[in-house]
């Protein structure tokens, strides 16, 4: 009883926290169209191997559209590895092997006729460390649309760049210096630039691998706000080490431990009444 109360108190400190007992709809949920519940990605019995070592063991999870799903768990539990399965980024690692079934809108993404390049245009990704190209801000955002042929004229491209930067809440800060190098921005701005770059390719799903771990609290708050905003249009999956962050931004939370997904449920449920003992220990800071 006392532990649960503590967690409630902790979440209660957050303005966007959800009162206990209510269903998995946060304050933000009321603003967004309620399409949550539609399944975007279905994973069934996914195993991932690095050579002989098994990193992910039999993970089955359904990821909802127009919602934020958080993956939490101690370091090395495989949550990033699993995230990278969702857009086949693991293909770039030679020794990595994925089995099981992952479908995006019903289509198997590991099917032979699915081109990983095409898939990654639909499932965008934002990385832990801001990694803008050492090119201008404009070039950074325009790169994706260019290689995928999303714009046929310069004006269209300009429009995409502007829209993307606006949705990433960066337009106001950089609109006068689009030719400046993207690497010259501050850390938080760089990460929002990376988000804008990911948005610009018009993906359906956005994967974020610890997007705030290299940022200061103010930049973190900005990015979190942005994530909440993006939930209206995308299915977002976010890997995070910060349980507060998971509680703040996500609607669903999955807890990973030693390659296994131990628990997957509404965020509120996970943080208030976890059904698994390990989850309880992790979120109360007993280990991890």
């Amino acid at each position: 009883m006392t532990e649960t109360a503590n967690i409630r108190a902790e979440i209660g400190e957050d303005q966007r926290g959800v009162p206990s007992g209510e269903p998995a709809v946060g304050v933000a949920e009321s603003e967004a169209p309620t399409t949550a519940g539609e399944i975007k990605i279905r994973c069934k019995g996914v195993d991932v191997f690095y050579g002989e070592a098994q990193a992910i063991k039999d993970v089955t999870i359904d990821i909802e559209d127009k919602a934020v799903t958080a993956f939490i768990g101690p370091s090395g539990c495989g949550k990033s590895t699993f995230l990278r399965c969702l857009n086949r980024m693991n293909d770039t690692i030679d020794i990595c092997r994925v089995t099981g079934e992952i479908t995006l809108d019903g289509g198997d993404i590991y099917d032979d006729d699915v081109d990983p390049v095409q898939l990654r245009a639909r499932v965008g990704m934002v990385f832990q460390k801001p990694n803008p190209f050492p090119k201008s801000i404009y070039e950074n955002v325009a790169y994706g649309p260019k290689i995928h042929g999303l714009a046929s004229t310069k004006a269209e491209l300009d429009c995409i760049v502007e829209q993307s930067l606006k949705r990433a809440a960066l337009w106001g800060e950089v609109k006068d210096r689009l030719d400046a190098p993207g690497t010259g921005l501050s850390g938080g701005q760089q990460q929002r630039l990376c988000i804008a770059r990911a948005i610009a390719t018009a993906p359906e799903v956005l994967l974020m691998d610890e997007p705030c771990s290299a940022l200061d609290p103010i930049a973190t708050a900005q990015v979190e706000e942005l994530i909440d905003e993006l939930r209206r249009s995308y299915s977002l999956v976010i890997v995070t080490h910060s349980m507060q962050q998971a509680a703040r931004v996500s609607q669903k939370t999955a807890f990973f431990h030693l390659g296994l997904m131990l628990e997957y449920d509404d965020t509120v449920k996970i943080f208030t009444a976890p059904s698994h003992e390990k989850t309880q220990q992790y979120i109360t800071g007993r280990f991890g």
Binding site: N87, M89, T92, D94, V117, Q118, L119, R120, A121, G124, M125, V126, F127, K129, N131, P132, F133, P134, Y143, G144, I147, H148, C194, R197, A198, T201
Partner: protein, 617 residues
């Protein structure tokens, strides 16, 4: 467990006498190490300084070249007139005779038949061609008398630079009187017996040295005689005895001859300047005399008197019984004997005369840069080799750079990591350490000669498609040599591009190729270029593999394209260095300086690139 340790006691050791000693020893060791380092650096710096100063001082010797100003009356033969009128600039007329005439005019007095060859050879063999070129440019000069500067022969230039020494004045106080020449042209000069002391001393010294050498020879032969005599005593058969006896006889003969020789030389050394007349040989220092405007050379000398020839007329009128007061004449000794130098005494006298008359001119030497190789040292230049090096480098770059970049991007970005790629990696690293001459042999076999193959009776040749001595063949060989360097540098700089950039591009849906060409390669390019330039600089200085494909041929024209024969700077340096003419020594140094300048420039470019595009992630 052992007994407990008292850490308070241990702490006390930090301040004890033993600890101070230990500290001192540590400082001392540090000082010693520093001293070793400084000594090592000083030795290296001194060696470098020595090398550079040698090269620079020798180069300084060819910064200027010397000309003689002549008055030439341009009279041309019909054949030459035809050539001069021809519009084709390759039709050159050699106005050799005009130059010969001009030299004869410049030398005071008559020059005999035997001396005319010596007179002609004071200017470069191509002086007539140069004059021809000038007349060709202005045909109005024909029939006129015009001043023109003729390039001096390399030996004369060296003489004027004092490489073989110049005549040294020796004391001459009294009056000099010169007799009427006899029928062979010899005159007798009379002077104060106390004059010309040093020439006697010099000759005496030389004779004494010669005598010492003859004595050494005598001792050697004596040794042989002793040994053979002993063998003779131990000999057992008659046959053996007979053979040994004949050998002994020859040794005894040689010993006796050396002894006589040494005795005679010793005698000469003691009597010189003591009354007896001494005949100056070609191997003796030369005795020259300037009297008024003229010059004499003496072949016999004794105290107060000398006999010799008039090389340049002593006055405008006939030299009959001329007398010169003190100060009007000087005696000179040319210490280096005539036989050991390439400038005859006559030429020495002429050069001294020309210089006194202000006919010798020094001009900045642009020829060494603008002309190509030549057999005559004074005409040889590096231009042909520079052009050859340029073509070779172009070929090397065009072959090695794209191949190297493609190989490194494939190995780094696309190739699976397995045993095969590991093997390739190890082999590329090993290739970089293969001696360059091996690449030369490989190139010779594959590119130039071809490898004859016989498979099931079918005979054919693999390779052998590039012409020998061509920059194309040389460039191909150097490309083989440079390739590993470029691949290693390329892979290192591709690997230095952080994987987050690759992730970013792949995450956006860029293909592997797009990631490589749009992001990785542009970011790695400065590093690849730096590595390539360093590899090219290495190739520019490479000699051994090019010798094998025949790029050390004697080629007087710069190659017009990569297929025509040429040589490169390092092989030219190699060729010049093995030339016997002394002026080639200095030209070699000049060519080395220029090669070094090119290398420094290329390395500076590499450093600049690295600094300019250096990126910290």
């Amino acid at each position: 467990m052992s007994t407990t340790v008292d850490f308070t006691e241990l702490s006390a050791k930090h301040t004890g006498e033993a600890s101070k000693r230990r500290l001192r020893a540590r400082y001392w060791a540090e000082m010693r190490l520093k001293a070793y380092g400084i000594i090592a650096i000083a030795i290296a710096a001194a060696a470098l300084l020595l090398l550079l100063s040698t090269v620079v001082t020798k180069t300084a010797g060819v910064i200027y070249e010397k000309y003689i100003t002549l008055e030439a009356t341009i009279e041309v033969s019909d054949r030459d007139r035809e050539r001069l009128a021809d519009q084709n600039p390759r039709m050159r007329a050699n106005l050799r005779r005009v130059v010969q005439g001009a030299i004869a005019t410049a030398i005071p007095g008559e020059i005999g038949r035997r001396e005319s060859r010596q007179a002609t050879s004071i200017v470069s063999g191509d002086a007539g061609l140069f004059l021809g070129d000038r007349v060709k440019a202005d045909l109005n000069l024909i029939g006129q008398t015009v001043p023109f500067d003729a390039l001096l022969d390399d030996n004369m230039q060296l003489y004027l630079k004092g490489v073989v020494g110049r005549p040294e004045e020796i004391e001459s106080a009294g009056t000099l009187s010169i007799s009427v020449p006899d029928e062979d042209g010899f005159v007798t000069a009379s002077f104060d017996p106390s004059d010309l002391g040093p020439i006697f001393e010099a000759i005496r010294e030389q004779r004494a040295n010669d005598a010492e050498r003859a004595r050494a020879e005598q001792r050697r032969q004596q040794n042989a005689v002793d040994v053979t005599e002993r063998q003779l005593l131990e000999a057992e058969t008659d046959e053996e005895r007979a053979e040994l006896q004949s050998r002994l006889d020859s040794f005894v003969f040689a010993r006796d001859r050396a002894e006589t020789n040494a005795d005679e030389l010793m005698r000469l050394a003691t009597v010189i300047g003591e009354g007896a007349r001494y005949t100056l040989a070609e191997t003796d220092p030369s005795l020259l005399m300037r009297a008024g405007p003229g010059w004499l050379k003496f072949t016999e000398v004794e105290r107060g008197e000398a006999k010799g020839l008039i090389y340049l007329p002593l006055s405008d009128t006939a030299p009959v019984g001329t007398e010169f007061a003190e100060g009007e004449w000087q005696a000179f000794m040319m210490e280096r004997p005539e036989a050991t130098r390439l400038q005859t005494d006559r030429q020495v006298v002429w050069m001294e005369n020309f210089e006194d008359r202000g006919l010798i001119k020094e001009v900045l030497n642009t020829r060494i840069l603008s002309s190509s190789d030549s057999a005559s040292a004074e005409l040889a230049g590096i231009w042909g080799a520079v052009v050859g090096s340029f073509w070779t480098m172009i070929v090397t770059f065009l072959l090695a750079f794209p191949l190297g970049v493609m190989a490194s991007i494939y190995l780094e970005e696309f190739a699976p990591k397995n045993r095969v790629t590991d093997l390739i990696e190890v082999n590329i690293n090993n290739l970089a350490a293969v001696p360059s001459i091996v690449f030369g042999l490989l190139g010779l076999a594959i590119f130039v000669s071809g490898v004859p193959v016989n498979i099931l009776g079918y005979e054919f040749t693999i390779g052998g498609f590039l012409p020998r001595s061509s920059p194309l063949a040389g460039g191909a060989v150097l490309a083989l040599m440079t390739l590993p360097t470029i691949i290693i540098a390329g892979r290192a700089s591709i690997r230095a591009v952080p994987s987050s950039i690759r992730d970013a591009a792949l995450g956006l849906g860029a293909s592997k190729l797009q990631t490589a060409t749009h992001h990785v390669l542009p970011l790695a390019m400065p590093g690849i270029l730096t590595g390539s330039i360093i590899g090219m600089a290495q190739a520019l200085g490479e000699t051994a593999p090019l010798l094998l494909v025949g790029m050390n041929s004697f080629i007087q024209e710069p190659p017009s394209d990569p297929l025509s024969p040429g040589n490169v700077l390092p092989t030219l340096i190699y060729q010049w260095n093995s030339n016997s003419e002394r002026l080639f020594d200095d030209k070699t140094a000049a060519a080395i300086s220029i090669l070094l300048i090119f290398l420094v420039l290329m390395n500076a470019l590499a450093v600049l690139l690295r600094k300019r595009f250096e990126r910290r992630w």
